[in-house]
Symmetry: C2
Subunit: 141 residues, 2 copies
Amino acid sequence: MSTAPGDPTDELVTTVFARHCLSRSTLEDVAGKWGILALLALRESDFRFNALRRRVEGVSEKMLSQTLQTLERDGLVLREVRTTIPPRVEYSLTGLGAQVAHRLHGLADLLEESVPQVTEARRAYDARPVGTGSDPGGEQR
Amino acid sequence: MSTAPGDPTDELVTTVFARHCLSRSTLEDVAGKWGILALLALRESDFRFNALRRRVEGVSEKMLSQTLQTLERDGLVLREVRTTIPPRVEYSLTGLGAQVAHRLHGLADLLEESVPQVTEARRAYDARPVGTGSDPGGEQR
DNA sequence: CGGCATCCATCTCGATACTG
DNA sequence: CAGTATCGAGATGGATGCCG
């Protein structure tokens, strides 16, 4: 009984809802506070560490480093080191990373376009007094 | 100089990288640990609170409540209350929410398919000793 | 330059308890 | 059933110092 009763049964059979599924942990790695932004940035071009840090406003050295390690571990980001002085480390997307980033770009794009809608929705939400009495049915049982 | 030198200049002109852009805050609302899962679940069907809670494994009452409030405020989720006894609250996607959820579904789907790749990538990453000497160029400058 | 290690302030999250 | 309130644990993020 893994599907809800009356489920329209679209083709979404993923198990991201499952607690310990790897796809869910990957999803969290990607979607964490900085994962999306890092992937989107790398979609524009390869970056060296500090350049990437500048591109993603507000990220700390620590969190960017940690985020990139996670993404590298998941096989989404490639890290190339040149042990020169000064060092030079280039980050880029792997094939899989590019596919993920492509999807994220679609999402970010949509949200960008929807800024006016979201702004209005927030305004309306914040403006409403208290019990917005949406109480259509009176079935008391 | 908002674009990196040598930028291929694809059409991604969003400002999600900017610290205080509304699209970025919305992105964080959506992509937070539970936002994605809630939206994906609601894509399957409408849900009442506890049913949704069961669908999204591991979410606490508090976080689900908080997540839904945020999504409602952003205009992605609709909340319908029936003040009967016992109370009955239905959650569903708005038009915008459905668009967002559609994108997220694509992402989740991709990650599902990529489970083997990610598994292997993690294994390889964890197995490697230390300095995976990728040091192609010796340009010391 | 590109890190990692440590300390420390803060914020988020989750379990529990309580309300309508 | 559908939440809110509270509190402790852990994650997050900044500052600083060190290393290759």
